[in-house]
C-alpha cells in the first residue's frame, strides 16, 4: 500500500543515493538496464516504500533534457506503460477489456508526456489508431522500429 512516505525528506537526494548504491551513475543508466519495466516497478526497486514512480519519471525527464534525448525518453515512457497494461503485447482481438487497456496505456502516456512533446504524441496516437500495430506487438525499448517511425528523434 502506498502511504505517502516517498515525499518525506529530501527525496531527490534519496533517489540518487539509491541509484548510486546500485552501481549506476545516472537514473537513465539504471532504467536502460531494465528495459520495458514499468516506472512503478523501477521505483519499487529503488525504494519499496519511499520512492514514487512519478519521481523516477521526473528524474528520467530531467536527465533526458540534459542529454537532449527527450523524444527517446517519451518513447521509453510508452514502452514501460505498454508493458504494464498489455504484458502480452498488442491485443489480437479488440474486446472491451483490451480496448480499455490500450486506452489506459495511451491516455496515461499523453498525461506523462512533457508539454514540449504533447502535440507529437497526439499525432502518433492518431497514427496508431489509423494503422494499428500487428497483434502481439510488444516494444522492448525506446529504439523499437515501429516506435521510431511513429515518433522519430528530432534532436539528433
Amino acid at each position: 500500500m502506498t502511504d505517502g512516505r516517498s515525499w518525506q525528506g529530501n527525496w531527490k537526494a534519496r533517489l540518487y543515493e539509491r541509484v548510486r548504491e546500485r552501481g549506476y551513475d545516472s537514473l537513465t543508466a539504471f532504467a536502460e538496464a531494465r528495459p520495458a519495466v514499468s516506472l512503478n516497478q523501477l521505483a519499487e526497486e529503488l525504494g519499496k516504500d519511499d520512492i514514487a514512480g512519478v519521481q523516477v519519471l521526473g528524474g528520467l525527464h530531467a536527465e533526458a533534457e540534459q542529454l537532449k534525448q527527450v523524444t527517446r525518453f517519451v518513447r521509453d515512457v510508452l514502452v514501460r506503460e505498454l508493458s504494464e497494461s498489455l504484458p502480452n503485447g498488442w491485443p489480437a482481438v479488440m474486446d472491451d477489456e483490451s480496448r480499455f487497456q490500450v486506452a489506459k496505456a495511451l491516455g496515461c502516456w499523453s498525461a506523462d508526456t512533457p508539454d514540449t512533446h504533447k502535440e507529437r504524441v497526439r499525432r502518433a496516437r492518431a497514427a496508431l489508431r489509423a494503422t494499428p500495430p500487428p497483434p502481439g506487438w510488444r516494444p522492448l525499448g525506446p529504439d523499437d522500429e515501429l516506435l521510431r517511425t511513429l515518433l522519430p528523434d528530432e534532436e539528433a
Binding site: G4, R5, W7, W11, A62, E84, P114
Partner: protein, 539 residues
C-alpha cells in the same frame, strides 16, 4: 410456597419471551453453533410451543436445562451471586455461560496460532476484507432487525390492567418507543450504503482501490455497530419500563417517566453522534461508549431496585417477590447491557483473556474466535479502528465499569484483534496524530469537473467528495508542482491536469465514455504513481 410461585412466574416468562425477544435476536448464532440440544417434545408441547433446536443458543439451552431442573425441584431459583445479570449482549457466535464452560474448566489456552500480520497478495486480502465487511453488516443487520421487531411488538402490546404498559398511560410513554424506532431509518440507510459501497468495491479491478473503497465503509460500519448496540440498550430500558408499568403500580408512572427521560438524555448525545456518521464524531462516540454503557447499567439496576423497594414498602411482599423474578429475568434476557460490576474486590482481577474459543471473561466466552477473526481483518485493512473495536470488546466483555483510563485491552486480545505497529501507524497518520487532521483535504477527482464525473457514475455514495485524501503540505506541493524538478515549466495544478488528461485521452482512445470502474482503475494506477495513500475521507 414462595419458591413454587416464583417458579411458575419464571417459567411463564421464559417461555413467553422465547419467541418474542429471544429467537430473532440470536438468529445469527444459528450459523456458528453446532448445538443439538433437543428438549423432549412433551416438555414443550405442553405449552403449545414448537421450537427448532437449531435456533437455540446455549443460553436458551441453559434456560431449558434450568427448566428441567426446576420441574424436578432440583434447582434453586435464586441465581448465584454475581450471576443474576451476567448475560450480556454478545455478538455472533459468542454465548453466555455455556454448558461446557463451568467454573473449574481448564483455563483458557492461548490461541494456538495468533494470526500474524503477514502480508497477503492484494487481491486475496481485498476479497477477505470484503467478506468481513459483509459479515459485520449481516451481524449488525441481525441486531437491528430483532430490535425493530421487538420495538413493534412492544408498541403493539395492549395495555394491561388500569391502562398500564408502555402503550397505555394515555400515550405518555409513546415518545420513548418512538425515540427507539426513529433510529431505525438511519441505521437501515447506513447499512444500505455500506452494502452498496462494498458491492461497488467488488467490481474494482485494482485491489488497492478496492481496499480504499472498503475503507470508506468504516465510519458507517462503526456507526451502525455501536448505534445498534446502544439502541438495543434503549430497548432493554423499554422492556423494563413496560414491566414496571404493568406489574408495579407502587412505582409511579411519573417517576418512571422521569427515569426514562434521564436515560434518554444520557443516550441522546452519543446516538446523535453515531447517527451523524461523521468519522471523527463516530470514533469519539465509540471510544466513550463503554463508559456510557457503565452508566446505563447502573441506571438499569437502580430503576429495577427502585421498583422492588416500592412494592415492598407498599406491603405487597408477595407481589414484590414475583416482580423481583420478572425483573431478574428481564435483566437476564436483556440484550445489550453488561452485568453489574463484581462487588467483591477479589473478582476485579478477572480480566479478559484471549482463549481458544474467543475472548473470554473468566470461563465465559464473550466474543467468539470467529468474530475476532472477522474484526482483525477489518482492523488490519484499516476499515475499523482499533480503539473502537477495543471498546466493542470491552462492552461485550462487561468491562464497562472498570476505570481503565486508556481503555486498553490486554496485549493478547489486542494482538488477536489485529494490533500491529502498521495499524497504529495508520491511525496516527489517518487521524489527529502527526498533524494530519490539519493537513489539507484534496479532491482526487478534481472538483471543477464534478459534472464530468457525475456523468460517469460518481453520484450519491460514490460522488467525488467521497474521494478526498489528506496530504501533508510537502506532499501536496510536490504533487501540485511546487516540489517538482526544475523542468523548465510550471505545473500549477499538475495532478488535476494530469489525471484529467489521462482520463480524457483514454476516452478518445476507447472511442466511448469510460465507466466508473474504468475511471477508478486509471485513477488507482495514477495514485500509485504519485504515492498518494488510498485512504479516502469525505470532502
Amino acid at each position: 410456597m414462595w419458591m413454587s410461585r416464583g417458579c411458575v412466574v419464571w417459567l411463564l416468562w421464559t417461555l413467553a419471551l422465547l419467541p418474542r425477544a429471544g429467537v430473532g435476536r440470536y438468529s445469527g448464532l444459528q450459523r456458528h453453533l453446532k448445538l443439538s440440544l433437543r428438549p423432549g417434545p412433551s416438555l414443550l408441547s405442553a405449552w403449545g410451543w414448537t421450537l427448532c433446536a437449531d435456533w437455540l443458543c446455549p443460553r436458551w439451552a441453559g434456560l431449558l436445562v434450568a427448566f428441567a431442573l426446576l420441574t424436578n425441584g432440583c434447582a434453586s431459583l435464586t441465581p448465584p451471586p454475581g450471576r443474576e445479570s451476567n448475560l450480556s449482549y454478545t455478538p455472533r457466535g459468542a454465548s453466555g455461560p455455556t454448558l461446557a464452560d463451568g467454573p473449574g474448566e481448564e483455563p483458557p489456552r492461548a490461541l494456538a496460532s495468533p494470526p500474524p500480520s503477514q502480508p497477503e497478495p492484494g487481491r486475496q486480502s481485498a476479497t477477505l476484507t470484503r467478506q468481513a465487511v459483509f459479515g459485520l453488516v449481516d451481524d449488525v443487520k441481525g441486531t437491528t432487525v430483532s430490535v425493530a421487531s421487538a420495538l413493534s411488538k412492544l408498541a403493539a402490546r395492549p395495555p394491561g390492567l388500569g391502562n398500564r404498559g408502555l402503550s397505555g398511560v394515555n400515550g405518555a410513554f409513546t415518545r420513548y418507543l418512538d425515540y427507539g424506532s426513529n433510529q431505525l431509518p438511519w441505521l437501515h440507510s447506513a447499512l444500505g450504503s455500506t452494502t452498496m459501497l462494498t458491492n461497488a468495491a467488488s467490481e474494482i479491478a485494482d485491489s488497492d482501490m478496492e481496499l480504499g473503497i472498503l475503507r470508506m465503509t468504516g465510519p458507517r460500519l462503526q456507526a451502525t455497530m455501536f448505534g445498534s448496540m446502544l439502541l438495543a440498550a434503549w430497548l432493554d430500558f423499554l422492556q423494563l419500563a413496560d414491566i414496571v408499568l404493568r406489574e408495579c403500580p407502587a412505582y409511579s408512572a411519573e417517576r418512571l417517566f422521569m427515569d426514562m427521560h434521564r436515560v434518554q438524555r444520557l443516550i441522546e448525545p452519543t446516538l446523535s453522534a453515531l447517527a451523524s456518521q461523521d468519522p471523527e464524531q463516530v470514533e469519539a462516540a465509540a471510544t466513550e461508549l463503554p463508559e456510557l454503557m457503565g452508566q446505563l447499567t447502573r441506571e438499569f439496576g437502580s430503576i429495577r431496585d427502585g421498583a422492588r423497594m416500592a412494592m415492598e414498602s407498599s406491603g405487597r411482599l408477595m407481589a414484590a417477590a414475583q416482580l423481583v423474578e420478572m425483573l431478574t429475568l428481564v435483566s437476564t434476557l436483556r440484550m445489550s447491557l453488561p452485568r453489574l460490576p463484581p462487588a467483591a474486590p477479589a473478582t476485579l482481577g478477572v480480566g479478559l483473556v484471549m482463549g481458544s474459543g474467543g475472548v473470554m471473561a473468566g470461563s465465559q466466552i464473550v466474543v467468539s474466535a470467529e468474530w475476532v477473526e472477522m474484526i482483525r481483518r477489518l482492523v488490519q485493512a484499516g476499515v475499523l479502528s482499533l480503539p473502537a473495536v477495543s471498546a466493542a470488546v470491552r462492552i461485550h466483555g462487561g468491562q464497562v465499569m472498570m476505570a481503565q483510563a486508556n481503555g486498553d485491552l490486554p496485549e493478547g486480545i489486542r494482538d488477536a484483534l489485529g494490533d500491529s505497529p502498521e495499524v497504529r501507524g495508520m491511525q496516527v497518520t489517518g487521524r489527529a496524530g502527526a498533524g494530519m487532521s490539519k493537513a489539507p483535504k484534496h479532491h482526487v477527482l478534481p472538483e471543477e469537473f464534478r459534472a464530468w464525473f457525475e456523468k460517469r457514475g460518481f453520484r450519491g455514495d460514490m460522488d467525488i467528495d467521497k474521494f478526498c485524501v489528506r496530504l501533508e503540505q510537502a506532499h501536496h506541493q510536490a504533487i501540485h508542482g511546487g516540489g517538482n524538478w526544475r523542468l523548465g515549466r510550471t505545473w500549477p495544478n499538475e495532478w488535476n491536469r494530469m489525471i484529467m488528461e489521462a482520463l480524457r485521452e483514454a476516452e478518445v482512445e476507447a472511442g466511448r465514455m469510460l465507466t466508473r470502474n474504468e475511471v477508478l482503475n486509471i485513477v488507482a494506477s495514477r495514485m500509485k504513481r504519485y504515492d498518494i495513500p488510498m485512504k479516502f475521507i469525505q470532502g
